[in-house]
Symmetry: C2
Subunit: 509 residues, 2 copies
């Protein structure tokens, strides 16, 4: 990382040197959110932030439509007694373990039945005590799977693929951070039911393909890793976590996919009549994402001048700034509006900033908001039939107005490419191999230092106990087995056994 | 109303004879919602219902964009202590009354500070009691006006025009009804702040224009009436209620606009620096709508075969049903998909139903869902280059496939027109003049009967006491002064004074 002097441009903290100040500063200075609402961890989405989030959502809607998921909307409140089934599921898994089925697959802390300690409770309404307390959904398995038995009867009803985008709630006791750790969460959740395990597995593959499509649009490289058993969602057969990498080298889980097999179906009695007229439990999956996507975009792409919005989700992809000269005969505002009209007709999102302000102030405003492309229109530009472009990723050049749509599209593509290149370079830069472990006099030692700001990979084929040793020694968290294995076998970091398993470790948000 | 025999077509209750059974039956049978979620008054939005609601929302989004409102998203939870300002406002209005300013304008029941008895309370999170109880928003004045002083500084910040579409909550103790009276409400609310009362009044005019545009798309005639003072929203200077008319002649308030003058601004200390560098309170308005719009659409347009969706918000505007003949050489499915492709490319929402079912079953499914236009494609139609159209509002005819986009658009317009004609005819049919009142031996009597299923209008220039007499005698509710006055003066129904004021009375939902 660069260690140059702090670039405290007009009050913006340096991103590289002081990311933990830069991030909270920039989310407010760019008008994404207002944190002054009087509940900690519940921000107000301002128009610019909400528009950005809705554009991210619209990419998700498109993918959902392409893959034939249908949108639903479930009630926010869940009666406490529905949790009994969820608790039964968890204890069933416990019994399975006690009876020797997959004995090592669960640790104790996951078995306490999840969310009770993390939810907001509604026990009163008006002046009444409610008979059955309710809680604000932290996620909707319980609510949805109560309805699934009513909707699924035969194999013709499968696959059932639904999703919703809703507010969810978690009573966070840790320090909150806009988009990253909040108490009201703008959330996406897809839930599916299938005839058998294999169909559900294919759904997970489809989910990961959707993730790839979205991340490409958001210009974010990611790590997809099958979480270790102790970090698997309660009730899941396996969990794949999708992590973005932040500038400080910490990973941020932005999405996750869970394969539930028929575990929830057994708890909620979700069956269908198969082709042999037998009742059979469905196999289920979920796929979740949240406003953390926006947190990753802010964190990864921004710089010391503010945000840089990936063109696919920029509320304004282009801002046009007419140079306003008093008493000039040349109407730069009219020309700006004309060009904006042409660009808008081609489907681009364009803002004309005709405010009577110094150009420098306008540039500052749109840079901090991360508008990818700025076009300045002055009398000289007009005489030459050009607009003077400034790319938010760097570089300035005159563009031919006669072919402005095509050229702007090309420039926006270049900006996306540049953002991908930078974020991928960062990922490559921070991901290194973990130093070797060696045993000496019965204790484990590490042959080198664990640096801050790095993500580590190892070939690993050890036990949970081995993993615990590594986590304890390094202070890193196992993200799990990368979906991209090593191409050829390598010796396991601890056992020495040959393996293709490529395990990722990181400090996480 | 027709008194023919009940048309119990495949289990659907008769709408005309038994609207109170027809409505709950049809909202579930058409897959709009599922009422089996285990909290009364909180339905699950199924894909078809949610898609319809989102299409209604998208009309609203367009109008908001046209009128330069910006979308925000506020937290759901509101700390109880913020209510203190709202309570202060209400008591200020009370003092104003006690000091002789507008003494008759308030009745007591509005002064108890609104929502406390109607909200859901969050007093616990995880295993903790919260220091400050919070409630689920019933509407967002309190939340928003806490932030407005931070956003508004000078006249340059005005007008401030924002809106949000969110879930709101009301602890209903009355009988719940899908869309019409629910406990979790899909809600639209616009909030504006202006330099002075006149600017705020112009905003109300703009709101009513938006209402007209939307209702035209939804094919719903409405009554816009300035609510009597005792039915004005607490803290409002005046309220305009927008009521749809249901088949049983009851009115359903689907929207409302409030002019707040500077009353809330004084309570929440929302000021701006005016052109004379003086601090001045803003004038505010709100405009709200809810999922009741969908309730009105279901109620007004449906018939004994199911829903009839106005084309502007129909999830599928056209369904194409290929006639499937085993061993036929003519591929009606391919032709259906080809036509669907042409229609979709023109921006129409089209479904091809290629299920291997009896045509009658398909027709039933799409009729109950209210798809406006059905095209049947059989081998004979193909040979003739036609598609056989069935309009959901009645009528069948072959359409030329060679010009299918233009003809379908025309047919959809005809269907919209027919829905407008029918609902307007209903409105005209049910709205009549109230029989005269006369005083005899010190008591008031009415010179005729008040019929069920009718809406009444009167020329009225009386006092609140007069209004109370009328309400008590008739069992009707004052909707208030119609925004459409009489063209020439008429004698007031009670006082005999000449007036243009046209007051509407109805039984309400």
């Amino acid at each position: 990382m660069s260690k140059g002097p702090a670039k405290a441009k007009r009050g913006i903290p340096s991103k590289v040197e002081n990311f933990s100040d830069w991030y909270p500063f920039i989310v407010e200075a760019s008008d994404l959110v207002d944190k002054r609402y009087p509940i900690k961890g519940m921000d107000v989405w301002r128009p610019y932030g909400w528009k950005t989030m809705r554009l991210i959502d619209s990419l998700t809607h498109s993918e959902m439509e392409r893959t034939e998921h249908e949108e639903v909307n479930f009630p926010l409140l869940i009666p406490e007694n529905l949790l009994e089934k969820e608790n039964a599921l968890v204890s069933r898994l416990k019994r399975a373990r006690e009876n020797g089925i997959d004995p090592d697959e669960l640790r104790d802390e996951e078995e306490e039945g999840g969310f009770k300690k993390e939810v907001y409770w509604v026990k009163h309404a008006g002046e009444n005590d409610l008979d059955i307390p309710m809680f604000l959904r932290p996620t909707s398995e319980t609510a949805m799977y109560t309805m699934f038995p009513l909707w699924i009867r035969s194999h013709k009803d499968l696959p059932l693929k639904i999703y919703q985008m809703v507010n969810t709630f978690r009573y966070e006791t840790k320090q909150t951070r806009s988009f990253i750790r909040v108490r009201e969460i703008h959330f996406f959740e897809a839930h599916t039911a299938h005839a058998d395990e294999e169909c559900a597995s294919r759904q997970i593959a489809e989910d990961l393909e959707i993730v790839d499509n979205l991340m490409d649009k958001l210009c974010l490289p990611i790590i997809k890793a099958k979480r270790p058993v102790w970090d698997t969602f309660p009730g899941a057969y396996y969990t794949i976590g999708i992590d973005a990498v932040m500038p400080n080298g910490r990973t941020l889980q932005v999405a996750s996919c869970h394969h539930y097999r028929d575990q929830w179906a057994k708890a909620f009695d979700i069956t269908y009549e198969n082709l042999d007229a037998q009742q059979q439990h469905v196999h289920q999956t979920t796929y979740g994402m949240s406003e953390r996507l926006l947190g990753a975009i802010v964190g990864m792409h921004g710089d010391d001048n503010g945000l840089i919005m990936p063109p696919a989700i920029a509320p304004f992809q282009i801002v046009i700034c007419p140079m306003i000269r008093k008493n000039s005969e040349v109407d730069t505002i009219a020309e700006s509006n004309r060009i904006a009209g042409i660009l808008r007709a081609a489907g681009l999102r364009v803002k004309v900033d005709a405010r009577d302000l110094h150009a420098g102030q306008k540039y500052y405003d749109w840079e901090i908001k991360g508008v990818p492309l700025r076009l300045d229109i002055g009398p000289r530009d007009m005489a030459q039939g050009t607009a003077y472009a400034a790319l938010r990723t760097g570089g300035k050049e005159p563009l031919e107005v006669s072919n402005i749509v095509e050229i702007c599209r090309q420039k926006l593509d270049e900006i996306s490419e540049e953002l991908r290149r930078r974020s991928q370079a960062h990922m490559t830069d921070v991901m290194i191999e973990l130093p070797k472990f060696f045993e000496q006099n019965g204790t484990w030692n590490i042959d080198g230092e664990v640096e801050d700001g790095k993500i580590y990979e190892i070939a690993f084929d050890g036990t949970d106990a081995d993993a615990e040793i590594i986590e304890k020694h390094t202070g890193l968290t196992f993200l799990g087995d990368s979906t991209e294995e090593y191409e050829t076998e390598k010796p396991c970091h601890m056992s020495g056994k040959m393996t293709k398993r490529r395990v990722i470790l990181a400090k996480t948000y």
